[in-house]
Symmetry: C2
Amino acid sequence: MKYTKKQRQEKLQNKIIENPFITDEDLADFFSVSVQTIRLDRLALSIPELRERIKHVAREHLDDVKALPEEEVIGEIIDLQLDKEAISLLDIKKEHVFSRTGIARGHYLFAQANSLAVAIIDEKMALTAKASVHFHRRVKEGERVIAKAEVKGTKDGKTIVHVVSNVKEEMVFYGEFSMYRSGK
Amino acid sequence: MKYTKKQRQEKLQNKIIENPFITDEDLADFFSVSVQTIRLDRLALSIPELRERIKHVAREHLDDVKALPEEEVIGEIIDLQLDKEAISLLDIKKEHVFSRTGIARGHYLFAQANSLAVAIIDEKMALTAKASVHFHRRVKEGERVIAKAEVKGTKDGKTIVHVVSNVKEEMVFYGEFSMYRSGK
């Protein structure tokens, strides 16, 4: 179905409110228009681009990473509430995929999730004791992986962190990490 | 206890036969002599250096990696019998450790084990479905991690690969990987 420009801009605003992680490319697909058109719509509506949008939304509850320097996190942290929850983005590029298949190598999805599980810990040091991970579907070059970590509690003195990674609305990875923390 | 040169050279030969993965540094520690002395002993006894030694020993049963290009394996494969067992070495360097603690980041140990679990599969394509991993002790910059993978059988159509990683004789990592393979 084709919308008028006015209809599209209204709908676009709602789509972005519903899902602040939606990319211009996804919006262009959804409305069957070019990415350029979406950019012009955003300009008209004064909606900043995805990265800025998320940072702006997230900034008010973005704690500082404690357990490692932020640049050692794999992916970009866009939300962090220490010992509660955290979100990071990883754009899958050429260097992350198997050359033959273009499929993301498992250890990059693991690394994104694992560094988020370290970053979420409210201590100067955190180390992974155990991890149980499931790769649900193949991730391809060009896809954006959004990992959400949540602290689930304590077991045998370790902090349990669950991480779910999605591409768009689809789960691609799930991991449970058991984390040592200094001082606890 | 100090040995004479002759005693040391005899013992050295035995040590290397017992453990072909032993480094010159470990031998120097063991005999309380310098690394240079160990090198001269090896020269006198015509024992090649570790890397050459292992390659020579392993070459007769070193299959070609099928499931990925060998240069995409994390670590150096020194033994490979497809669908049976495989061994790789990873020297932990500055880029593998947390800057604050000098402790190896979990995802590098995971990546070494995971790529070995991919490489061991006797198919053109293999992907990780699940993994359950345990980090037993911290690994420091300068340590050499030796991962040994073994195919344990099939479960729900997936190939189960166990990987044990040691530093010297001590287990530092254990993982169980469940692998998809094309054509099976």
